[in-house]
């Protein structure tokens, strides 16, 4: 096993520096100001908390680290998403949650989107709540879920010329009315922005199967507008830029912790952050060390609670 591991590490190293097992957690913790955690596979798995998570978060807080929990889920606001943490017995502040619903509102604030302009939303309640908290006016969302178009000869769908941005996220009440309304705004309102909370192919609406994700709503608008959206959720690096700007930290002081190579780790690397892969989710050690895998995090470990034991071992 060791022999195989070493030879694979050598071969992977030809493409990029092979990931190192995390041996000195304290050194990593000391070099970092902010930890960004992916949730599923890192903090919880389905509906169960991963072992040792509360103590690990406590340790990091005690050391004065900023914690950020990131999710591409845009259907809930940060506050609503916080209830999932509460249910699992974790005490997490809503300011620590970076949901893509909030990311859309934060992006619009970051560019000083004019308050007299409106935002058309294809998506669910989370986006509306975050836009409202940020002081923006919006239309669309769940309210347009039951609307139909009448195709009488000469029929024209009127649209609001004051819409300056269309925000698209996962929407289980997606329909043609919304596609056409969003398309008209993007195509006909000069300078209208096209933002996507995420382009995830699939999402986990229920544990029983994978469900078509926000990528399908975004794909529909890309198809009709022939424009590419600005994505604010993973794997866009907007969040890293936002954190770096807001808290005046350099991105190398951020460590992205996740269980997926092609989303979380690549996301961290694209953002110029340190990266830690945990093997408590979808990626196994053999997947990491497969010669065909070219994405190598800085470090890997079994689960975040290794921060506790690896610390002890080095004291």
């Amino acid at each position: 096993m060791d022999k195989k591991k070493n030879s694979v590490v050598t071969s992977a190293a030809a493409a990029s520096v092979a990931a190192q097992p995390l041996e000195n957690a304290d050194a990593l913790i000391d070099s970092v100001e902010t930890f960004i955690f992916d949730c599923d596979g890192v903090i919880w798995k389905g509906d169960s908390l991963i072992e040792g998570v509360p103590e690990t978060l406590e340790l990091l807080r005690a050391k004065g680290k900023r914690l950020v929990f990131v999710t591409n889920n845009s259907t809930k606001s940060r506050k609503q998403y916080g209830k999932k943490f509460e249910t699992l017995g974790l005490s997490v502040n809503e300011e620590e949650i970076f949901a893509s619903s909030f990311a859309a509102a934060a992006y619009l604030q970051s560019i000083d989107f004019p308050k007299d302009k409106k935002i058309y939303v294809i998506g669910e309640e989370g986006i509306l709540i975050e836009l409202e908290l940020a002081g923006f006016s919006y239309l669309g969302g769940p309210e347009d879920g039951g609307k139909k178009i009448e195709l009488k000869p000469g029929y024209l769908m009127e649209h609001d010329k004051d819409v300056g941005a269309v925000v698209v996220g996962f929407d289980r009440y997606f329909n043609y009315y919304k596609v056409q309304y969003g398309t008209l705004c993007v195509r006909e309102n000069p300078g209208c922005l096209f933002l996507a909370t995420n382009r995830d192919a699939v999402t986990h609406l229920t544990d029983a199967q994978e469900w078509a994700g926000g990528g399908s709503m975004v794909g529909a608008l890309v198809g009709s507008t022939q424009r590419e959206p600005l994505v604010v959720g993973k794997p866009s690096t907007f969040m890293m830029d936002y954190l770096a700007n807001k808290f005046g930290i350099t991105k190398s002081q951020i460590c992205m912790v996740g269980d997926r190579l092609d989303t979380d780790i690549l996301f961290g690397q694209n953002g110029g952050c340190k990266t830690l892969l945990v093997l408590s989710g979808v990626t196994s050690l053999s997947m990491l060390q497969n010669p065909n895998n070219s994405i190598q995090p800085d470090f890997y470990t079994n689960k975040i609670s290794d921060f506790l034991s690896l610390k002890a071992a080095n004291v």
Copy 2:
């Protein structure tokens, strides 16, 4: 005007051979076995027939030419689409109409799609009618327009494991149920095909504005499956291959007649056909001769009825 025209032609010729004005219609007609006509801008404009069309079609028929009328509209069957011709006083046989609804069924026939497999349809009645005429079993279509998903914990959408192809076309009753059903078939049924009738960004449901087209329904499935569809309508060259195979003609014996450079003319060129641009639709002479335009048809003329006068002039 002539001076400007000549200099532009010279400059365009640097990139590709500049289009020639059609001067000898007889020579073109004699060299061709089949004419493929785009409809809007060539045969009619909105609800009005373009001048001289009936006499021109009559001339071509008298000369034994095969006529094909092509439309990316998949909402109607060939028979239903034929009514538009009838309304305008044109006598066109349904076998002469190549709607993308028919193209989907013809493609499945061309690959001997197994008759014991089923086809899931995101689209309207035209696709269902053509699939039925071709002897295929389908599910989905308008019937799924009112269906909703229930997101109880543990809820799973069952899907038919016998679906071997998903066909996506324009669908004004598009919803999340259909996106998820089609996505499950493409992702989970081994070898399941993903066909698109067309990827048009916009379509003309009413004359009053442009409407989000089949490209939006297809884009949604691309977003959730991360697969690219096989497109059977324009600009795919399936139709030319189909005609060439079915009637044993070479593609250089086909002439594509259209009013759009980047769809019709490119479509004809990709298929290895002769191409004729008519200026009765969206493209003007100055657009054709603009140095930035790199798409040059073999010939251009004002309207298809020039076949009559150019013939007379050369007798």
